[in-house]
Symmetry: C2
């Protein structure tokens, strides 16, 4: 049985790629336009992501978008920025699959997509980690 | 009964202020020194924070530290940077209490400490939020 709040116990299904659908990525997209963030979200879904792709409104990395977050039960949550809605879809799908293949969200450094190495905005440990973690 | 993984059902106790204890805050503190991040952690505990203060190793906002994250069951997680281990302790205690007083982690804008308004690195929605959220 899993927890309704955190999907604990449903680890395989719990990995999510959150996409800020409001991101303008520095463009001056008008309010009623399909924004770059929405396009990134739609392109990831259309490409058949192996993890759940969830649209959210504002991950508050507005000056460094587009922005996504990877999270999953028992895993570190990672926020990545400087993404492009067309050019970075394949890289994100690869990174999400690597993340999902870990138990703790820590993709081995050498296996990480270069974009992940250079554009990590922040990370947050899983709730189960109650004190210091190795980097 | 709460969930062991996410503290769901233990909302009152679940708010945490995570502090990156490895942060050098742009100083050239030697490896064996008590770093600014550790000092921030220790100062928050000594000041009697009303929420749990948890030391973690690296929230990966290394160029914009010191860095903390506020999180709690059912709440948005917020990451804040550009903190000083002495000057920002009282502000952080106030902000953490305001955060703990919310059900969803969204401190009303006008009530937010100015530092929170200007130095939010990123935020991540609670697992219970499965689609778009209002900003």
């Amino acid at each position: 049985m899993g927890c309704d709040m955190c999907d604990a116990g449903n680890a395989e299904d719990a990995v999510e790629l959150l996409v800020c659908v409001k991101c303008r990525r520095g463009t001056d997209a008008p309010d009623d336009a399909r924004r770059p963030g929405q396009a990134l979200h739609d392109n990831l879904r259309a490409a058949g992501a192996s993890v759940a792709v969830t649209g959210v409104e504002c991950l508050q990395n507005c000056e460094g978008g587009c922005t996504v977050a990877l999270r999953g039960a028992g895993r570190w949550t990672y926020v990545y920025g400087a993404l492009h809605e067309d050019r970075d879809v394949a890289m994100l799908l690869e990174g999400a699959a690597l993340y999902a293949a870990t138990a703790d969200g820590l993709i081995p450094w050498r296996a990480r997509p270069d974009h992940f190495k250079r554009n990590c905005i922040a990370r947050v440990p899983p709730p189960t980690l109650k004190e210091k973690a190795d980097v």
